[in-house]
Symmetry: C2
Subunit: 157 residues, 2 copies
């Protein structure tokens, strides 16, 4: 699929229109498959009381619901701004083929969104991040993985 | 709030019980406030057709809905496994005070979940990641941020 400016414009349109409607922060996104929009999203953090309701996450959820799948292989996402780490990882888990965006993480930081800080923190080794000493109950938790691995009927994702 | 093993055990219980019920991958999480569980989550990626339906995200959504807020300051999350980058960033956006977990990202990798790869990729500078050349429509997208900054009635999050 070739990048199409019209889809990026649609993401930008949503970022402005929905923000001005009081839905949340100034971000929009669309998921595209075979030249058609299959999911639209915009930031609804404050209106939906859901800190995970970022534009890209919402667009992914809508596209997956519309296509009745948990994999968006063969689709691309267009976002008004560079995805934050949560959304970038969601794009990875959704198996989207590509991500196109307009504004950058630095633009977002200037507008008061701390994506850049978050990227910096995620890039660190795990040790400095907050966690209890040692690995409490790790072996108990591994039982879930053992059972997962032993289940021939599991659905990988 | 002091770390309490019982909450980590509840997260582990969910990771096994819900996986065996066919809900999705072997992961569970609970959000705790003032010594009580206010949100439970488990992986529902494959059953809900939602690649963002990881245990921590689901627990955060449930806690926010229960408390009617988009901020979980004053709460902690307990997860059966170290959060993937999407969930770790969601924990950041939810403003949770702390995250406790049992199994590690390396355990998850051994079980077939590519969190570790994703952490490595997110730690890179933005350039090597997939994006179109240049910054198409960046200035158009910045209009959303300009309007956001100029709106005295906005709700920061």
């Amino acid at each position: 699929m070739a990048y199409q400016e019209a889809f990026l414009r649609e993401a930008i349109r949503l970022s402005i229109e929905k923000m001005e409607a009081g839905e949340g922060g100034p971000f929009g996104a669309v998921v595209v498959k075979n030249g058609a929009v299959v999911g639209r999203g915009w930031n609804r953090v404050t209106s939906a009381n859901d800190p995970t309701a970022h534009a890209e996450v919402m667009a992914i959820r809508e596209a997956c619901a519309a296509l009745a799948t948990f994999s968006l292989r063969g689709c691309e996402i267009y976002a008004s701004c560079e995805p934050c780490p949560m959304c970038l990882a969601a794009i990875h888990w959704a198996r989207l083929d590509a991500c196109h965006y307009a504004a950058t993480r630095h633009d977002a930081a200037e507008a008061g969104f701390d994506d850049a800080l978050l990227y910096e923190q995620l890039g660190r080794a795990p040790e400095p991040r907050q966690r209890p000493d040692g690995e409490p109950l790790r072996d108990e938790a591994l039982e879930a993985f053992r059972r997962w691995g032993a289940d021939p009927g599991r659905t990988p994702y």
